[in-house]
């Protein structure tokens, strides 16, 4: 019997080791797994590498995790925001490493990890600072940069509905990084608003098949506005 539903947030994040690379879903607050991030803070793993689109906003979610000092490195596309003061402070004082990746390369690198691709040539970033030192190649008259997959130990994502197999559907633009992150981590953990009986999700509309999901936990939380 397959039952990936775990009863508590504590059980959901159990066993995440020090030194883990953790993918964290969300674009703005949409799809950001706040409850799982809080659970990870409580769980206490350190020396983490966090891969997410941003590097935290205000003092909650990712920013709260960064504030614990347990994050060694952030890989993201857009760390600097009007309310990214936690990250900004750590970065300026040299307490955190940063790898900035164009958003589409970030997404494709995560997808490549899940899809078993060893590396790929992307046109994005060619001829810019972010491609410095990287292998390039001209193919069919266009210039490309070679990018590598981002494999992770853990993914923390948020979806709308799950069944006990871990099949997921999402809500609107909260889908964003969830499906690809689920595929790229050894341990993929989804917080969802509700669990439905097996068979209730239409097989034509499942976005993340359960094979990509290790644990599911129900977390009732309001998504705070991003604006």
């Amino acid at each position: 019997m397959i039952d990936k539903i775990v009863p508590t947030l504590e059980a959901a994040v159990a066993g995440i080791p020090d030194g883990a690379t953790v993918l964290v879903g969300g674009f703005g607050t949409a799809g950001m797994p706040f409850a799982l991030i809080d659970a990870l803070i409580a769980q206490g793993a350190g020396d983490l590498t966090i891969v997410s689109n941003n590097a935290g906003n205000a003092d909650t979610g990712l920013a709260a995790l960064l504030a614990t000092g347990r994050v060694r490195k952030v890989i993201c596309s857009f760390p600097r925001q009007h309310d990214s003061w936690v990250f900004d402070g750590l970065y300026r004082s040299g307490e955190i490493e940063l790898e900035v990746v164009p958003q589409g390369n970030l997404a494709e690198r995560i997808r490549a990890a899940g899809a078993g691709i060893g590396a790929f040539f992307t046109p994005t970033g060619y001829g810019t600072l972010l491609a410095e030192g990287k292998e390039t190649r001209r193919i069919d008259g266009r210039d490309y940069v070679l990018e590598y997959p981002i494999h992770a130990d853990v993914a923390l994502i948020k979806a709308k509905t799950a069944d006990r197999h871990g099949n997921l559907v999402y809500n609107k633009t909260a889908r964003n990084f969830g499906p690809i992150m689920a595929s790229a981590a050894k341990l993929s953990i989804a917080q969802v608003s509700e669990v439905v009986p097996l068979g209730a999700l239409d097989p034509e509309s499942v976005v993340t098949p359960g094979i990509f999901v290790s644990r599911v936990v129900v977390a009732h939380e309001e998504t705070p506005p991003s604006w």
């Binding site: 674009f27 703005g28 607050t29 949409a30 799809g31 596309s77 857009f78 760390p79 600097r80 925001q81 900004d88 970065y91 300026r92 940063l98 900035v100 990746v101 164009p102 958003q103 589409g104 390369n105 997404a107 494709e108 995560i110 997808r111 992307t122 046109p123 994005t124 970033g125 060619y126 001829g127 810019t128 600072l129 972010l130 210039d143 999402y170 809500n171 609107k172 633009t173 909260a174 889908r175 964003n176 990084f177 969830g178 499906p179 690809i180 976005v207 309001e222 998504t223 705070p224 506005p225 991003s226 604006w227």
Partner: protein
């Protein structure tokens, strides 16, 4: 000489977006283009965080925190909309499926190089978001920007001084003074505001221009 105001600039771009086009509007000034799309044209807006068929900002109180645009502002969906994940969304851009992308810029070079992501200041925290993907992510990339900086320096330049977002990616530059078409044979200027001659404009921009 009457410079175009922001709404007139946005309307000028909007006029050139044909019926049926799939379009991504960048953050900032380009977002304003959505308010000026001509009546009677059906234009499908893409937002890179996973939506085609984006509609306008909802009425106050109707906002959904899980339905936002790339600028993280609340939006709506129109009939015919579709949601997808980030890899699919950027595949759509990188694969050249969007007809037009409208972006802001610090500088555009006469070769169509774009600089719009980084001031290059040594103490700036680098943050690129989707800028480099947008720069190469459409059949045609339009830039919408003021022609001059606040202290009067031209933003259409021989070579970008700011770090590049993408090389040779801009098709056309819409400004408050004129529209510039970037071509392999040089820059064509058209739609000069009243009272501005091509000679004046060349002098202001410091690059060679031809009437287009």
């Amino acid at each position: 000489m009457n410079k175009l105001d922001r709404n007139a600039m946005a309307a000028r771009v909007a006029r050139d977006i044909p019926d049926g086009a799939y379009v991504n509007l960048g953050i900032g000034l380009p977002t304003l283009v959505a308010d000026h799309l001509p009546e009677g044209r059906e234009i499908v807006l893409h937002t890179e965080n996973g939506l085609l068929g984006m509609g306008p900002r909802p009425a106050a109180g109707q906002e959904d925190p899980e339905l936002i645009n790339a600028g993280k502002q609340p939006v709506t969906t129109l009939p015919g909309a579709a949601f997808f994940h980030h890899a699919d969304s950027f595949a759509m851009m990188r694969g050249g499926h969007l007809d037009i992308c409208v972006l802001g810029a610090f500088e555009v070079s006469i070769a169509g190089d774009l600089a719009n992501w980084h001031t290059g200041k040594p103490d700036a925290i680098p943050a690129v978001g989707g800028a480099m993907d947008l720069a190469i992510g459409a059949k045609r990339v339009f830039v919408l920007m003021e022609a001059l900086t606040k202290d009067g320096r031209p933003k259409l330049v021989r070579e970008c001084a700011y770090p590049l977002t993408g090389k040779a990616c801009v098709s056309r530059v819409y400004t408050d003074l004129a529209t510039f078409e970037i071509t392999p044979d040089g820059v064509l200027a058209r739609d000069l505001v009243e009272g501005l001659t091509l000679g004046d404009l060349e002098g202001m921009m410091g690059v060679e221009l031809r009437a287009g």
